[in-house]
Amino acid sequence: MFGYVVRRLLQLIPTFFGATLLAFLVIQLAPGDFVTRLELDPTQDRESIANLRQQLGLDQPLPVQYAKWLSGILQGYLGLSLSYKTDVWNVIGQRILNSMVLVVLATLMIYLVAIPVGVYSAIRKYTWPDRTFTVLAFLGLAIPNFFFGLIMLFLAVWLSDLTDMRILPIGGMTNEFLHLGNMTRAAQILFPPALLGTLVFAGLFWWRVQRKQAATFGIWVGLVLFGMSALLMLWPLLQGPGLPERLPYTESPLWARITNVLWHAFPVVIVVGTSGLAGLMRVMRGQMLDVLSQDYIRTARAKGLSERVVIYKHALRNAVIPFIAGIGGLLPGLIGGAGLVEVTMAWPGITPALLEAISAIDVYVIMGLITITTVLLMIGNVVSDLLLAWVDPRIRYS
């Protein structure tokens, strides 16, 4: 096993060089460079354009440019952005983090909803609820994300017209000013039900533990959701009354900033998560149906096991194996951003920055992102394979 891991890691090195060289060539072989845009500006003369090209090193032969970039990479330096004149990491770092907010929340939502719904659909196939989920899944898969994003924006404007309150945000990730007063009052109203919910689910949890039963999935979800909300509301309850009604975002306390970002993320996560959710739900349903028709399930039922145990212990555990293998694949997705939704809903993620870099041919920003994604993709693949071997005793590497 150890030998296998070492071999896999060694294989990453040539893959890395091959992938980055290919990416570099593809970017450079496209017509034009960072300076081309300026050639159509009547106020620029030949000399300053040639000068600029020389200064940015764009006049050097491609192998030299690649070698220079590579020597930087090996020292952990991603290069200098041509348009920002600063480290590439300064350009993309914060944006990757912003995108991660969306991707992590969307992934959580996808897994938390898709697996139970998929299982439910499989157990009750061709019933009304199953058909409803199927139709919804196809809708979710069919609607393009960026378009759904625009619909969400107009829904937000429409809702604020209807109620005269800003219920959903109109794009963006933060507000310029945070209404701490409103947040505190909302927390005062919402805290009691959240606390009550937490207590109810904690009680259920305790009750099942007393009867030597594992807590169900629903209890876990309820406990976490209500518990987290109640916890988050503790701060405005304690600090809120002493704070001014309104503060600029940068001067607000952390809890207010988190709440504000979560509020902005809510519609975006729904948009981002929909297609993934729909797809995963269908896959889960198919997997589950597959497993349920296996002989060992019939055996389990014949032994007289309860249906619960058959489904959750025998069937589900085998049906989720492909998803566990897919966890490694999530790694590059984490920094890859949420796609065009970020542009339509003005989320300051990595996609708008990447699109700008591509249209300006800011070579090193593009290369920086490709490098990070490539490395994570490679590591993710190794992790997936190892995880698979760990959960599935039928697979052994040597």
């Binding site: 009547p42 300053s48 975002y249 542009v343």
Partner: protein, 577 residues
């Protein structure tokens, strides 16, 4: 004692602002309030020597001063940091007097050292500032020298008409000087986006307050600014200026419709309709001015006079051919279809909003396919072949390729309309959108023998107020002499007489100082271009500004123009509520 106190107060007041600039607003304003706009992309830097795009310079212009600019009311030169000037030596020398008492936000005086230092750095070839071309006239440098602490002098190698427009940004020498002396790289690393905003010193109406990447730039009023209004109260009136970064135009519209942005420029008739509907439904207190002006940018078709194919080269050099092509442009449909009904036809090179130089009294080859056919017949294309294309006596088909840059919907539609009309009369136009960079390469990079590979390109250039700044397009050896390009900075090999005339007019226009004479020259220039059509102009998109009614100090409808915008100065905009 009282007298001493009064004297002291006077001295202090004098120290604070000896010679402020008086900003004349459209109505009396009051201090306070916030102004929120949207921008399509993030700034790239706060460093004016590095900045190359409007997303950066639009913000830099709020906190760094320039010597002079255009008056928003008359378009004549108007002093900013320069209090006054004196032209000497038949226009070869200009002496600029600075405002004594002007200060940077860190308390240091803004004086001649800052101006001379900034000029030196902008002109430095190693720095490659975007403003560098403003320091070179026909290959010779414009020399800036300090006369005394508040006087600078510019010496021009020849008389230069735009000499009074000095719109490059002035930086604090005490911050940039040490970095510059340490090396160009150190200079370029200054004031990048990760510099704490408090370290970015202001000499303009606003001061950087905070920047959240991908979200917003917030500026606050600079209390040490050297401007006052006509009642001697300090400006800017606004306490806060926020630029929200919204990369999508529809999302920008949504912000404006929700009242979260104060101004908006509708891009098409559909957006105008959405704003109007909301105003009429009483859900937005705003005004919109559809088609109040057209934008400065131009769209034109240029034919390649340096074609490899001698038949095409000869054809494209015929003025009758170009006029025939102009007669095939259905500008009415272009406005209807490509611009959504909002825009104006353009006939000559100076943009319509540029009132100081624009003339409408030029030759107009209006849409007239019959006349086009007649002109083509005069060139020998009298019959049509079996496929319906026009051919000459030798059986050669009248055909050419037309390209424009992919993704520009307006240009793509204009090109399609032109192609359809041309094909109707038998001119075989093959239209294809291509990548922008590839298009620029074809246009600006001749092969070793001086030929270029395209037939016709539909493209646009960003316009400006000053015609002399477009000399690279019109002078014979210009880099953007797009129809007939020379190699290696030389004149083209074969030149028509009207091109020489344009070249002469451009050179005279740039060196004539008398405004009335200049207008004469540029009027003649427009006539020559419209007559000979080296570039065949199409249509200009409309300027459709909108704003919330909470803003004061804005232009009334008649005064709005796409050059200045919706208000004369940012300094005199204020919030009414």
């Amino acid at each position: 004692m009282k007298k001493l106190l009064a004297l002291g107060m006077l001295a202090l007041a004098g120290l604070a602002l000896a010679q402020p600039k008086v900003f004349k607003g459209t109505e009396p304003g009051r201090a306070g309030g916030a102004y929120r706009v949207t921008a399509i992309s993030d700034p790239r830097t706060w460093n004016p020597f590095v900045a190359r795009e409007t997303s950066s310079t639009d913000i830099i212009g709020l906190f760094l001063p320039t010597l002079s600019g255009y008056s928003p009311y008359t378009q004549a030169p108007e002093g900013n940091l320069a209090r006054s000037w004196e032209v000497r030596n038949n226009g070869l020398t200009v002496i600029f007097r600075l405002r004594e008492g002007a200060r940077w936000s860190d308390g240091q005086a803004i004086d001649a050292d800052d101006v001379i230092f900034s000029a030196t750095v902008h002109a430095d070839q190693r720095v490659n500032s975007n403003s560098r071309s403003q320091f070179i006239l026909d290959g010779q440098p414009i020399v800036w020298t300090k006369v005394d602490q508040f006087t600078v002098r510019a010496d021009f190698p020849k008389p230069y008409a735009p000499a009074l427009i000095q719109g490059w940004y002035i930086v604090p020498e005490h911050i940039f000087g040490p970095a510059y002396r340490a090396g160009v790289q150190q200079l370029q690393a200054l004031w990048n986006l990760d510099t704490p905003p408090a370290q970015v010193v202001s000499g303009g109406p606003f001061k950087l307050d905070s920047y959240v990447k991908g979200e917003r730039v917030v500026l606050v009023r600079n209390p040490t600014y050297w401007g006052v209004d006509d009642r001697n109260s300090p400006v800017a009136y606004l306490e806060r200026y926020t630029v929200q970064i919204v990369p999508d135009l529809n999302a920008q519209l949504a912000r404006f419709l929700a009242g979260e942005a104060d101004t908006f420029s509708a891009a098409n008739a559909d957006q105008v309709a959405q704003v109007l509907e909301r105003i009429r439904g009483n859900r937005l207190r705003a005004e919109i001015f559809p088609n109040v002006d057209v934008t400065l940018g131009t769209n034109f078709i240029v034919f390649n006079w340096n074609s490899k194919d001698p038949f095409k080269e000869n054809l494209f050099r015929q003025v009758k051919f170009r006029r025939a092509m102009a007669h095939l442009m259905d500008k009415k449909s272009m406005i209807e279809v490509a611009l959504g009904g909002l825009g104006q036809p353009q006939w000559s090179p100076i943009s319509i909003p540029n009132k100081a130089f624009f003339t409408d009294d030029v030759a107009k080859f209006e849409f007239n396919p019959q006349r086009a056919l007649q002109l083509l017949a005069e060139l020998g294309f009298r019959t049509k072949n079996r496929d319906g294309w026009l051919v000459n006596a030798q059986g050669k088909v009248l055909e050419f390729n037309l390209v424009t840059n992919q993704g520009n919907n307006v240009r793509e539609r204009i090109a399609q309309i032109f192609r359809d009309e041309a094909r109707k009369v038998g001119v075989k136009v093959e239209y294809r959108p291509i990548d922008f960079n590839e298009l620029v390469r074809q246009l600006t990079t001749p092969a070793a023998d001086g030929t270029r590979e395209f037939d016709a390109i539909l493209i646009g250039l960003t316009g400006g107020i000053e015609p002399a700044f477009s000399r690279n397009v019109w002078e014979l050896n210009g880099t953007l002499h797009a129809w007939n390009l020379g190699t290696g900075g030389k004149n083209p090999a074969k030149v028509e007489s009207f091109e020489v005339l344009i070249d002469t007019l451009m050179k005279r226009g740039a060196t004539t100082l008398d405004q009335a004479q200049r207008r004469q020259i540029y009027v003649q220039f427009q006539k020559v271009v419209a007559e000979n059509l080296p570039l065949i102009y199409t249509v200009a998109p409309a300027y459709n500004p909108a704003r919330l009614t909470r803003l004061g100090g804005m232009f009334p409808k008649e005064q709005i123009n796409s050059i200045t915008g919706q208000a004369p100065y940012i300094e005199t905009i204020f919030a009414k509520e």
